[in-house]
Symmetry: C2
Subunit: 195 residues, 2 copies
């Protein structure tokens, strides 16, 4: 039941093409990835209080409807001066990326503490009531204004620690090595390798 | 990093002797179990909103202080007529087992719907930011009055589905085969066997 054998295919609990491309780029290998969109035209609500809650809802649902090993994720931008906001609400902080970024920059106007952290959780649900969790974190700063055009979400205003450019300026290649999501996915990749 | 090799010893995030005995009885085998009490005289607060939240707090803490693979759990009694209460608050529903049981029976006085479910979550935290989760559920009914003396917690008022006796009457041997905690632990045992 809880046997964790090497999967031939994994169902991704997302229909976001950016995320699907990112997961394939980082995990690579011989595993075939399918999107939950191929199974049912349903979006799972992210209404939980933690990243684990949200990714668990999606992973459990995807496992249930597909009957196959499933991978779900949730991530958020936790800004120190805003007491961790937008955090688990990052994707719902406005109606689109522009609105969300504008809101954050407004709230941080005249704020000197720009420290922030991107956090990600990936859940691999592979047997009934049984799943593995992988977390990743990338610390950094919030820029004074949006810069760059690569990536998605808050990428244009997040400057990872040790860099002077935003994720959107650094581009996918660098981001897929150092991001919170990359770190979690690399942990998952090692897990798969060791199965 | 996320390599899940077979552990020689596992640190249990509990000092509850009932739980330690139960875990050893169900998991058995050659693994050595240590209690977090052997490392630090600290209790971790269960202040989360879900069983996963609570067990994760304990598992992550225990892994951090011990530096060894750690196992933490949380469980709760979810009563249908009480909208899932006491649920995640089961251990804090009163100052001792007697008080908690009395409170539940009082709230269910004249209530015909006695359906309830015991749920358990075990988290095995084995590498930084990496852990495996095992859930278990045991459906049943709330008895009209406490019966039996075996076990702990709500055992004297929980009658598992398919039985006419309470967990406290059925005794450890039966309980360790059919309980929510047993089901989760058996999933964990299979996971360990397959490492």
């Amino acid at each position: 039941m809880a046997r964790s054998v090497k999967p031939r295919s994994i169902v991704l609990a997302t229909r976001n093409p950016h995320k699907i491309a990112e997961i394939k780029a980082i995990l690579g290998g011989r595993i075939q990835y399918e999107s939950i969109g191929d199974f049912l035209g349903i979006s799972v609500k992210e209404a939980g209080r933690t990243l684990v809650d949200n990714s668990l809802t999606k992973a459990a649902f995807t496992f249930k409807v597909s009957g196959k090993p499933s991978l779900a994720d949730d991530s958020g931008l936790f800004i120190e001066a805003l007491d961790g906001k937008p955090g688990v609400y990052s994707a719902r902080y406005g109606s689109d990326d522009n609105e969300r970024i504008t809101k954050v920059l407004k709230q941080l106007a005249n704020e000197k503490n720009r420290r922030a952290s991107f956090k990600a959780v990936f859940i691999y649900y592979y047997a009934p009531n049984t799943y593995a969790v992988f977390e990743g974190e990338c610390r950094g700063m919030i820029a004074d204004e949006p810069r760059g055009s690569s990536g998605f979400g808050y990428d244009p205003i997040f400057i990872p620690k040790g860099y002077s450019k935003t994720f959107a300026e650094l581009g996918e290649k660098v981001k897929n090595r150092i991001s919170h999501r990359a770190k979690a996915l690399i942990r998952f990749k090692k897990y798969l390798t060791n199965l």
